[in-house]
């Protein structure tokens, strides 16, 4: 077994509440390869943000832990940049200054002033925000704010990019636009990404794998769906692709089943389907620039028993 890039290992968490401890997550296991794009999907309140915050180091797991490049994660850091749901830019700084704050912090002593300036502009250009870089958050639209938030996260050159419903607050058109931008950036930079989303199309379009979580309390991973669509992906072409529609239907079916079970008193736990990556044979992405210097075709294909994963389509 190869040592993985990012391992979420037996993570459980209990929050202390007035009515005693509340177990939000129960034994979440997930291996993520370098350069992989993983979506977390599940009903609201099931614990997606909690998983992300544990990986970010903002929450501490009660049991288990997160290992990044062989080292345990126990505090937040710029190697795991977070794009928050509501942009969380500092309102008193311009777009440029917001990115600059991160760049100055991460590249202190590594880049000189001029290089930092170049790097800030480069990242703002990646998200097509150069034209508004001297504007404050209050002066730009929601989509633009989210772009700056992404630029800020990318500028940290993180090992893992964590995104908590990054486009949740945007209108459909802006969202589609942002998804295309993200696809393009991802194909260039090959970041490892964990993204939380509510949007089934978004998950299928962007992800290498979709991790579907069971309902809380004591939520865990229900099913993992590998999306074996070739990249680069194009939303218009995919719309007519039968595999695309099949994946879509799979996710919808999962969510719908869970929705039915929400009302039952005992939370459904699918122990047999906990946290196994599927055997994958994803074609390497095409058109990757050599300059990116990031190897992203490493895939960790772990499967303890293929019988546990009946619904994954080869």
């Amino acid at each position: 077994m190869q040592s993985s890039h990012l391992v979420i290992s037996h993570v459980s968490i209990e929050f202390p509440t007035r009515n005693g401890p509340f177990k939000a997550l129960d034994s979440v296991n997930l291996d993520i390869a370098k350069g992989e794009f993983v979506s977390l999907i599940g009903h609201s309140g099931c614990g997606k943000s909690t998983v992300l915050n544990i990986v970010a180091g903002l929450h501490q797991a009660t049991e288990g832990g997160v290992i990044l490049n062989g080292k345990e994660v126990n505090q937040p850091g710029p190697d795991r940049a977070v794009v928050f749901q509501n942009h969380s830019l500092l309102p008193w700084l311009t777009a440029y200054e917001n990115v600059a704050l991160a760049v100055k912090q991460v590249f202190k002593g590594k880049k000189n002033k001029h290089e930092m300036d170049d790097w800030i502009r480069h990242n703002l250009a990646l998200v097509h925000m150069e034209h508004a870089m001297d504007k404050r958050p209050a002066e730009i639209s929601g989509g633009m704010k989210q772009r700056v938030g992404i630029a800020r996260a990318l500028a940290m050159e993180p090992e893992v990019l964590l995104m908590d419903e990054p486009f949740g607050a945007l209108d459909a058109l802006t969202r589609a636009h942002m998804q295309d931008s993200l696809l393009e950036i991802q194909s260039r930079l090959c970041n490892t990404v964990i993204m939380i989303t509510h949007d089934v199309d978004e998950a299928v379009l962007l992800s290498d794998r979709i991790v579907m979580m069971t309902n809380g309390p004591a939520a865990t991973i229900g099913e993992i769906l590998a999306i074996e669509l070739p990249r680069p992906r194009d939303r218009l072409e995919l719309a007519e692709d039968t595999r695309y529609n099949h994946y879509r239907a799979e996710v919808v079916r999962f969510l719908h089943e869970r929705h039915g079970k929400m009302s039952s008193t005992t939370p459904q736990r699918n122990t047999s389907l906990k946290a196994h990556a599927t055997v994958q044979s994803i074609p390497p992405r095409q058109g990757l620039p050599k300059t990116s210097g990031v190897k992203c075709d490493i895939r960790i294909n772990v499967s303890d028993s293929a019988a546990d994963l009946p619904r994954n389509i080869a």
Binding site: A56, Q75, V82, F84, S88, L90, W92, R136
Partner: protein
């Protein structure tokens, strides 16, 4: 030019003057008249009504010093006070001129001679007292802010410190600073001893009294402002691993500025009110002493002169508040923040 005046009046929130400055602009006459009536006309009417009411009521109240002065009498006394001030300044100038002439003569006779200039010790005029009060309140206020803002920030950041200091703050807050006055006076007399004091004792006492009442609203507001920073911004700071100082400087301070300034404005307002009372009580130089002296004086003009002082207190308080507002607008980042 007109644009400048317009923005200036807007910035100073002197909206009353806006229609006047707009007269320079090419606006339609109807619009001008309408905005003049609504912006300047209404407050003007209210002021006229107030003056009439005051004049009418005053002439019906008899006191041991005669009738309560009406607006006209108060205006006469204002001019009188200005006159007195000018005379006093002329006297002072003459005093120094005479000394200088004398010294020059001595130096001509004997270049080695040591010459001195004795300070003028005339009675402080009304405007001297006004100036003393303004200086005192600003000193007390600035000292209080320098103490209260750091304490508030630390309290807001650390739950432990907040729990430790909160009871003390809550107990000290409701104490009238006038109750502190005797203690402050005694301590200043005992501790602040020097042959050539930079500041007069009375000045120090008054300033400390102001400080004592200015501290609490600022501490409390800063604490609340710091403690209620958006959780996401705190997470940003954590992810970036900002150190303590950078965190305070880049995240905590800017986001708590609106609350902080609300506290500062309340502080300055209270400080100004308390100062006048303290000056009356302790006979420390300032507007309060002027009022008290006139009260003791009991001449037929006294009541009118006191009223001049009372109006001055109000106007200065108003101007101080507007200055704070301007400062607040200069440092605040949120264009939507409604500041009144």
């Amino acid at each position: 030019m007109t644009i400048n005046i317009l923005t200036l009046t807007r910035e100073w929130r002197l909206q009353v003057l806006a229609p006047l400055t707009r007269l320079f602009q090419k606006e339609t006459r109807d619009d001008q008249i309408k905005s003049f009536i609504s912006l300047a006309g209404v407050p003007l009417l209210a002021i006229i009504a107030f003056l009439l009411l005051w004049g009418g009521a005053a002439s019906h109240i008899d006191t041991s010093l005669g009738k309560v002065p009406g607006p006209v009498k108060v205006w006469e006394q204002t001019l009188q006070l200005v006159e007195e001030h000018i005379q006093e300044r002329a006297k002072e100038q003459g005093f120094y001129q005479r000394q200088e002439q004398r010294n020059q003569k001595i130096l001509e006779d004997n270049p080695e001679a040591e010459v001195k200039i004795r300070p003028y010790t005339g009675k402080p005029t009304f405007f001297d007292q006004v100036w003393t009060s303004i200086l005192t309140v600003l000193t007390g206020f600035i000292v209080a802010s320098f103490v209260a803002i750091p304490v508030g920030i630390v309290c807001g950041l650390s739950t432990v410190l907040y729990r430790a200091l909160n009871p003390l703050i809550q107990i000290f807050k409701p104490i009238s600073p006038l109750a502190w006055l005797p203690i402050v006076t005694m301590i200043v007399s005992a501790v602040y001893i020097s042959d050539d004091p930079l500041f007069a004792k009375s000045y120090v006492t008054s300033a400390i009294t102001v400080t004592l009442c200015c501290i609490w609203p600022t501490i409390i507001n800063t604490t609340v402002g710091v403690a209620t920073i958006d959780n996401d911004l705190i997470n940003v700071s954590k992810v970036l691993r900002l150190n303590w100082l950078t965190n305070v400087y880049r995240i905590v301070l800017p986001s708590s500025i609106p609350m902080m300034f609300a506290g500062l404005r309340v502080s300055l307002g209270i400080g100004w009110m308390v100062l006048i009372a303290a000056e009356m009580l302790a006979q420390n130089p300032g507007l309060g002493k002027f009022v008290w002296d006139e009260f003791q004086n009991g001449s037929s003009d006294s009541m009118a002169r006191i009223m001049v002082a009372v109006l001055a207190i109000g106007i200065i308080g108003f101007v101080l508040d507007r200055l704070m507002l301007m400062l607040q607008k200069m440092v605040t980042w949120d264009p939507q923040a409604i500041i009144r």
